[in-house]
Every structure is written in C-alpha cells, then in structure tokens.
Symmetry: C2
Subunit: 312 residues, 2 copies
C-alpha cells in the first residue's frame, strides 16, 4: 500500500492527526521506573524499551502514528539501538504508522545504504531482508537530490515514505533556512525542489509519499507552505513543549482536516509531570498519557479552520 | 587533550594526512569473506566487524585516522550497530583518531542527546558513562546554531571534535549549497558562521576542534575555503573513487602540509579489487590495503603545493 494512503486512512480511522513522539529521556521517566532495571547501560536501554512498549500499548488505539527520536536511543549505544528496534517493531505490530526520526542523509551511495536500512531490504546471503521496521524516515536536504533519490527509489518499491526537513521547529531555523537566495528564502527553494520530488508519487489519497517537516513554531511559514505544496503530507513538530499552539498548527491542514500529522513528544509521554496530571492521576502515568492525547486531539479539532476529519 | 592537537600530532607521527574510510558494503568484501559467518543478519554484522578489525590492524601503524560510515552498519540493524561500536572501540585501542560519519543533527535538545551519545557521557544510575568510543562526529548545519552549540559544549568538556558539512563531495552539492544568498553562495554563509563557532576553540596547534567537511571534488571551493577558514581543520572526502585527485586536494593544506585530513574509503578498503592489485597480491587483500594507503600518501605528498609534513 502507498504510504500516504495508509497514513491518511490511519488518521481517518482514529479521527485525529496526533503523532506521539517517543523521545525517552531517562531523567524524565516516571518515579521508580529506572529502578526496576539493572544500573548499567543495558539496564537503561531495557527501561527505554519497557517505557516505549507501555506508551505504544496505550496510544495504539487512539492515534494514527508514533515517531521515534533515534538520538535518545543511540545515546545508550548498541543496547539503546536494540531497544529502538524492538520498540519500533512493537509499534508496527500494534497497527501504528511508525516514523523514524533520524534526519539521515549523505552522498548518493551512502544515502542508498540508509534508504535500504530503514525503508528497504539489505542483502543477506542470497536473499534480501528488512533490517528495521518503520514506515517513513526523516531526511535532511542539505546535500541536494543525490541524497534524496535513493530514498525515493526504495520508498517507491517498498510502499514507504520520507519527510524532508523544510522548516524546522527550532529558534535558529532562521539562520540558514531564511537566507534570501535569488529572491526567496532557502526553505522555499527546498520546498520547490521537494514539490518536484513529491508530485510524481501521489497515491489515491492525493498525497505523495514524499512529505515535508514544517515546524508548528512558524505558523505563517506553515500556512504559506501548505499553499505551495498541495499533495505533500506535513510532519509538524513543535506543538506543546516547544511552544506551537493548535491555532499555529491549523493552517497546516487541507479542507478535510487532513494532510498534516502533528507531533508532540514530551507533552504526551511525560504529561504525568504536569501539576494537573499529578493531582488527577497520581502515579498512573499512562492515564496521563491518554488524557494528554485526548486533550491534544480536542485542542487541534477546536482550533481547526477546516472541516473536521471524517472518521472512516 | 584538545582534539585538533591530537589530530595534528597523529598526522605528524605518521607523516601523512590519510583517513581510511570504513564503509563496509557486504557485496564488496573479499571473496569468501562472508561465507565464514552465519547466513543471517547477525552473521553479516559479524563479518563487518571482522573486516573492520582486520582493516584497523593493518592501517593503525600507517595512518592518523579512520572514519566509520554509520549507514553501512545501521543497514544491518542493531547487530550492525553493535559491530560499528566494537570496531570503533578497536580502532581507538589501536591508537587511531576515530571519526564517526553520522551527519547527525536536530533541534537543540535532541542535538544534545546526539552530542552526549557520540562525544560525551550519558546518565546511568547516579553516574555518567560514555556510550560510544569516538573522537569526532560529522554534523549537518541545516538547523543553524541550535543544532551546533550542544556539540561544541560537549566537545569542549570532553576533548572531542566535530566536522560540520560545508561543501559536500557529491554532484548535487551545488543544488542548495551554491544558491546565492545575499551576494554569496549558501556554503559561504555556512563557512562564515562556522568560523565564529570554531575560532574560540583553537588548541596549541592553532586549529579548532570545530572542523569543516569540504569535498575534494570541488577544488576551487576547497582553495577558497582554506583561505576563508584559517584554524579550521578540514575533513576532505571524495579523493579516489569519487573522482577527487591529489592536485584537487592540494589547496586544502596549510603551509606545513597540515590542516586537512583526506579520506578515501572504497579506494583503500576495496583496493584488492583493482586489476593491478589482483595481479600483485592475489587473495592477500590486506596487502592491497597497505599498498593503497602508501600510494595515496605518496600521491598527496607529490602533488602538495605546501611543505611536506614534518614527522614528529
């Protein structure tokens, strides 16, 4: 199945575009969580896996997608990477769309290795096997099309997707992305090239498997890019902890309320730390996660300037 | 010790600036190599580790540094990543400067996780432990200074380094990096900001631990950037298989023949496949590796327009 079609179907199924970002910082895990595991790197990795597994279990019925931030797993070396691999596989088994947020890229022949790794299959003996279980990968555009084509080729073959960084959600995104080159900012140049990369790869939903990362923290750029990139699905980070609001995110959707997946990481997985959640749920951190998802879905719907998502 | 000082000392010790890129493609391993290991993903990962171990053994006495291309290990999932971790540790034990070519980056809080992962220490129980063994990491600049500062902070504390992508070696590097923004190409803007990031962090060698990646395949840009970035060490990919020659690389060095590390990956590790090497060394692929390093070192020295490197 085409990645964007699967993604839009998943959004319709649950009726919201919430992506739960799983960025496990050990220091933010619920009280006592780490103590259940050995006090070494492998033990922390086991804790990350267990935390991710529990998050996946509670969110799988209520959101379309999860996004794993590779950095927080790579931080614990190969043991951490094993935890990432296992958690991503569990998320897929639970029926979620699985995004790997690795922001990978390189020259063509190396980009091909990343593409095969995360989206395709690798040679093992006389056959090809998948190494990772995920549906889409975030990709950095600085190297130009050489670094994009291998991902597009593999994604075409395997029914997978990519999200190319266009406008990131951080404060210094402006530093290079807003430099005015030949009359318009760099991120618009990236967006224009992205349109060329994306448009031949639209599915029945009208959306391409080549998407864009556009931060919630830049609402006017988000609105402008939504206009400029019809048929390109957006992955919108920056809602919640990073400061993006539901009204900031609203212009990212199409007239059916589709076309954008809005990510929240700490705001959901570590919702149990908010004073209101402490008062309401006490040590039941999973109830706080579920509540945070419902609150976010409602907030997005309430501020949507487009039609509500029609549930399938 | 300061990263750049260690790097320059290592270059002086061996008398050449050759960096051996370890990018193990299973399909390029010597005949029969893969057959020694189980025919599954873990077996391929073991083969990558064994190949890397043998390369490290033969090159450790004759080059200053090795560079691991993470993609080729991530291709084999957590097992591949374990092989990368083990090979990098062996390279460090063998006395080499170890560069991790991951081209990582993200928003600040996530960049901090990558910085801690590869260059620093991570929290484990009530202490901090290193997860990875490497001296420097390649970093992508698209997100601006938020994505650089965390690496600089950790590198300062730990005596590590980073190499920021300025001008990559691939053909489509021009696509965004050459866009003319406010009167000069994007890569010059990146270089200017890099100068600001680098200059406060020079060691006794006069070089900073904040370096730049500048491809051998763009010799005029290399010459121009060497002038523009005194005190910034260059990691120069693209020599050999990608088409960069020794005279292309020559402008990357300072007046002592220092300041640049020139990488060759396939041209060295898979040198055994060249007809001349087949004739001379037959199945002794390691002899072909050693010969390729000596040939490259001589080629660079013969075409150097600056003084020869003074051996310490």
């Amino acid at each position: 199945m085409h990645f964007a079609d699967s993604l839009m179907a998943a959004i319709r199924r649950v009726g919201n575009p919430v992506c739960v970002g799983i960025d496990p910082r050990p220091e933010d895990l619920p009280d006592g969580f780490l103590d259940r595991f050995p006090g070494n790197r492998a033990g922390v990795a086991q804790a990350l896996l267990e935390f991710g597994r529990e998050v996946v279990e509670v969110v799988a019925p209520i959101v379309p997608a999860v996004k794993f931030q590779a950095a927080f797993y790579e931080a614990y070396g190969p043991e951490g990477v094993s935890a990432l691999h296992a958690t991503a596989s569990l998320a897929k088994e639970a029926g979620l769309i699985v995004l790997m947020d690795g922001k990978r890229n390189d020259i063509g022949s190396t980009a091909e290795a990343y593409a095969r790794a995360y989206l395709g299959k690798v040679p093992v003996g006389d056959r090809f096997e998948p190494s990772w279980v995920c549906d889409a990968l975030t990709v950095n555009p600085y190297l130009g099309i050489d670094g994009i084509t291998p991902f597009v080729k593999v994604a075409t073959r395997e029914g997978k997707g990519i999200f190319v960084l266009v406008r990131t959600s951080n404060a210094s995104a402006r530093e290079f992305q807003d430099l005015v080159c030949e009359g318009r900012p760099l991120y618009r140049h990236v967006a224009e090239r992205l349109a060329d990369w994306a448009l031949p790869h639209r599915g029945d939903s009208g959306y391409s498997f080549v998407g864009a990362v556009v931060g919630a923290t830049y609402p006017s750029e988000l609105a402008e890019l939504r206009q400029a990139l019809p048929g390109v699905p957006f992955l919108v980070p920056g809602y919640g902890t990073q400061g993006g609001s539901a009204s900031d995110v609203a212009p990212g959707f199409d007239f059916e309320g589709l076309g954008a997946l809005v990510n929240s990481s700490r705001g959901i997985t570590f919702a149990y730390r908010k004073p209101s959640a402490v008062a309401k749920f006490g040590p039941d951190w999973k109830a706080a996660v579920v509540q945070a998802v419902h609150d976010m879905a409602e907030d997005l719907a309430a501020h949507s300037t487009t039609a509500k998502i029609k549930r399938s």
